[in-house]
């Protein structure tokens, strides 16, 4: 099945000349090098080096320059604000997961400020798109975004991880407006997500369920149980992401427990799979828009990201997985972000 759809998929590539796009028969990403795209599964997947991640062309994705300059500016500004909030929250709490939160900020920003249909004044709106943070430890990013959208007062962020706060270390659905499902132990979120997507099908609702998984997380067997389930019930209203930063608590994911070739694993499980650059808003937006057009299968978007993105000394540093910055580090990080902005 995976081969069949791949053969029929039109593959697009951005023209080197600029805005124009054209259709090609082959994928020219650094894995395929223009070879027959049916051989993609067998193509070698070298370990990504930090420096080249952001330059990597997209594998098999129609990349359209959909966002205009104004939108780009908006996204950059939002991502800056969210990253700043993340750092402030974790610094104040003296506890929390800063690396993965910074790394996935662009994905969450693209979802909440562009792609998702939601209404902060009505968090329980039945037709809203759902978002499930399956990598539940990255609450700083979702809390920052929810507060910014107006789901709860920004002041609440000051009490993150404090007793009595509604902002728990891991998402707690009954406690926090805008949180759609409780997660925490890894693997729960994607299962809950496919359950919610099944419910949407049963209720003939047209919303989407977005799920954000970590790459370390998908070593959990439950994730693959959910993958089988999503395939069985043709849950094309599921659009999931893997925050592919190649780092987990104990080190490089390919050393702790290898996941590559990851895309072909998901394809083999019957999910329509894309590999994109997770800090490129054009790619995030166009891939999701494309995923929405295609019916019959759930979608997995493997988004290559840089853990700790935006703060030089945190980028690709596994030690920043769950360590809060001290005062000097915090000030340096904020300064760096501000300068970059």
């Amino acid at each position: 099945m995976a081969l069949a759809w791949r053969a029929s998929l039109k593959i697009w590539r951005q023209s080197p000349a600029g805005g124009r796009t054209y259709s090609i028969d082959r994928c020219f990403c650094c894995f395929c090098f223009g070879r027959d795209s049916q051989n993609v599964k067998e193509a070698p997947r070298p370990l990504l080096l930090a420096g080249i991640i952001h330059r990597m062309p997209t594998h098999g994705v129609k990349t359209l320059p959909m966002l205009d300059r104004e939108e780009h500016r908006f996204f950059r500004q939002k991502a800056f604000e969210i990253r700043k909030s993340i750092l402030e929250m974790v610094y104040k709490a003296r506890s929390g997961h800063v690396g993965g939160s910074l790394g996935s900020a662009d994905l969450v920003v693209a979802l909440y400020y562009y792609l998702m249909r939601h209404n902060p004044s009505e968090p329980e709106w039945p037709d809203r798109d759902r978002f499930i943070l399956s990598k539940g430890h990255c609450t700083p990013v979702i809390y920052a975004v929810l507060a910014d959208c107006g789901y709860f007062p920004r002041e609440g962020l000051n009490h993150f991880r404090r007793p009595g706060s509604h902002l728990q270390g891991h998402p707690y659905e009954p406690g926090t407006p805008g949180i759609d499902a409780s997660t925490g132990t890894l693997g729960l979120g994607i299962s809950t997500g496919v359950g919610m997507a099944l419910a949407a099908k049963l209720q003939s609702r047209s919303h989407y369920v977005y799920i954000l998984c970590g790459d370390g997380e998908i070593q959990e067997g439950q994730v693959w149980e959910a993958a089988l389930f999503g395939n069985k019930y043709h849950l094309d209203n599921v659009i999931a992401f893997v925050d592919r930063n190649y780092l987990q608590t104990d080190g490089n994911s390919e050393q702790v427990m290898p996941l590559d070739p990851l895309a072909s694993k998901w394809e083999a499980f019957g999910w329509r799979t894309y590999e994109i650059e997770g800090h490129n808003f054009d790619q995030i937006v166009s891939t999701v828009e494309q995923a929405k057009q295609l019916k019959g299968k759930p979608t997995m978007i493997i988004a290559r990201t840089i853990k700790g993105k935006g703060v030089s000394f945190m980028e690709n540093e596994v030690s920043w997985h769950g360590t809060p910055p001290n005062q000097e580090q915090f000030e340096r990080a904020i300064k760096e972000l501000t300068l970059a902005d």
Binding site: Y172, E173, P174, D180, A181, S182, T183, G184, T185, G187, L188, G189, S191, T192, G193, V194, G195, M196, A197, L198, A199, A200, L202, Q203, G221, Q222, E225, A226, L228, F229, K232, Y233
Partner: protein, 311 residues
């Protein structure tokens, strides 16, 4: 004595529910013939989801369905529901207090031939320790039916504990099922026998045996283990001053400990626990295992006599 399966009572209750309530859906893990949800599947195929052999995923999927307004019954064997999927039950269901009904069949040592790996003797202990969890342990076919309906009407996580074998039908427990309420089956002054699940018939028999010795034994059936009907327990402790509990479960973490804990903190009362000792079971016929592991009227009777003679 007529015997019937509690799991069949659950399945029949489910069918009645499904006719009344469109929101009732059933999830199963490749054991629908054993849990008897296959009948539901036949009549309501659109509301039946076979998850294959993946209990962990099923629990979280059920949570997702419940969050969207459905009343999912997640069904599998007790040992899988509590041990294999314990994390999912805790974090996807109990913690956020999601409206999922976990219907676990093949609980207790009477599961029989499959042996210790399949005999859930610790499931109540696990579920009791999760905040927000309601635990129902019906005593026979009819009560299982009532408990199934009560679970669906209740808003919150429920663990419904069912057996595999056919157990005696006890007419006394066929009315007035209410979550959190004990059933007083027999008045007595000298001692109270508190039973749960299928031990109700053994408790009644033990009371008869005690009567022959001129002891008046009160019998309380406890179909809800959590929240425990503390009023009934405390009253029994106050009035009869001796209590024997009986459960088809480990004596660790089940009814016995719940009752003993409550009494010792309030009105210290001698309590004896009849149940599976701190051992794993083995293969055998249900009746053989109930005999061998001391889950019979005679065992309750002996514990009661000892207590009566001591104090």
């Amino acid at each position: 004595m007529q015997t019937k399966r509690t799991r069949q009572g659950f399945a029949d209750g489910l069918m009645e529910l499904a006719r009344e309530n469109q929101r009732v859906v059933v999830l199963d893990c490749d054991v629908s013939k054993a849990t008897q949800t296959c009948d539901f599947q036949r009549l309501f195929p659109q509301r039946f989801f076979n998850c294959g052999v993946q209990e962990a995923n099923m629990m979280s999927v059920a949570a997702g369905l419940a969050l969207e307004g459905f009343i999912p019954f997640a069904t599998t064997f007790g040992v899988f529901a509590s041990c294999r999927a314990g994390d999912q039950v805790r974090n996807s269901i109990a913690y956020p207090k999601v409206n999922v009904k976990i219907a676990a069949t093949h609980c207790g040592i009477s599961t029989g031939g499959d042996g210790a790996s399949h005999q859930a003797n610790e499931d109540i202990a696990i579920m009791r320790s999760f905040p927000n969890m309601t635990i129902l342990v019906p005593g026979d076919y009819e009560e299982a039916k009532l408990a199934t309906k009560a679970a669906a009407a209740f808003n919150g996580p429920v663990y419904l504990r069912l057996g595999r074998d056919a157990y005696p039908v006890i007419a006394e427990i066929h009315h007035g099922f209410e979550i959190g309420k004990a059933k007083l089956l027999r008045e007595g002054r000298d001692i109270t026998l508190i039973t749960t699940g299928i031990m109700v018939s053994e408790g009644l028999k033990a009371a008869e045996m005690l009567k022959e010795k001129n002891y008046s034994a009160r019998v309380i059936h406890m179909p809800t283990l959590k929240p425990l009907d503390s009023e009934a327990v405390l009253q029994a402790g106050r009035e009869t001053r001796r209590v024997v509990t009986a459960e088809e479960h480990s004596i660790i973490g089940g009814l016995g400990e719940a009752v003993a804990g409550l009494l010792s903190e309030t009105i210290p009362t001698p309590v004896r626990r009849v149940g599976v000792k701190d051992v794993f079971g083995e293969s055998g016929m249900a009746s053989e295992l109930l005999d061998k592991y001391g889950l019979r009227a005679i065992n309750i009777y002996q514990e009661a006599l000892r207590l009566l003679k001591e104090s």
